[in-house]
């Protein structure tokens, strides 16, 4: 998603399934997973640039909620949830499967 476009709470988003070398703040276990934006945290500097001493353009940061069943095939309770902060450039909007 374009970093400057702020999506609304409740939007379904997918975390990019990429594994670049270097410093990132997106845990591996969330990559490729689908969650829902729980809260918009506002613009924060991009840690992937800060880590190398570069000046950065602030990015929207979201708190995204994932059902445990989306993350782990053997989840203890699939309906339990996990929330994490994800920067906008890691997210794409995911079509709602119930739509259309």
């Amino acid at each position: 998603m374009e970093p400057r476009n702020v999506v609304e709470v409740g939007t379904r988003v997918r975390v990019a399934d990429i594994a670049p070398p270097g410093h990132v703040r997106t845990p591996h276990y969330l990559r490729g997973r689908v969650g829902v934006v729980e809260r918009v945290l506002g613009p924060f500097p991009n840690p992937e640039e800060l880590a190398y001493g570069r000046r950065t353009t602030p990015l929207p940061l979201y708190r995204v909620r994932f059902p445990m069943g989306e993350l782990w095939a053997d989840a203890e309770h699939p309906g339990d949830t996990l929330e994490a902060e994800i920067y906008a450039h890691w997210l794409t909007i995911e079509e709602d499967p119930d739509a259309a």
Binding site: L61, W72, D80, L82, Y87
Partner: protein, 216 residues
Amino acid sequence: MPHDGHDPLSPSGHPYRPDQDEPLTYWQCMEIAIRELLVEKGVTTDAAIRAQVQTMDDRGPAQGARVVARAWADPDFHHRLRSDGSAACRELGIEVGPMKLIAVSNTPDLHNVVVCTLCSCYPRNLLGLPPDWYKSREYRSRTVREPRAVLREFGTTLPEGVAVRVHDSTADMRYLVVPMRPDGTEGWTEGALAACVTRDAMIGVAQAAHPKSDGI
């Protein structure tokens, strides 16, 4: 790695915590050198370093417990704490620092627990420095996958029907769990309420409980 002739692990398998009287390690030597260079270059002063260490020593779970006790005693404060944690703490004279605080409240239906899988992010201005287990590979690996098993290890078994929500502190937020107020504390002062709030309860691996009475 330095080779200074000392086994880095104790017989129990735990790292030593060498201090003043132990043989100087490579890393301690580096700390002294960096500290002196920073002072000589005018980045800081010995007094400022002492003050920073003192500030850290003064911080501990008591700060967070005050915040939780106020939230229990004052629903309006609890509401403000949930909408802007940093601002609400400032009302109590507690500066959370550059990171923003998100307070997450346990309810009869939901139990929150906090972890930082990527490093060891922790609301240190509210709770002090994190305990070793919070920084351990085991806690960081397992809490996002089997939180209920981890909670059971800490002696926390949730009633049927309570959902678990794990907060992975991945970026610029810091999390404080507001545990459930224990039963039988109606009318208690904030000071008495704060004594029910442990560090572990504010991380979410335990529940708040009446303070243990010694010898009874």
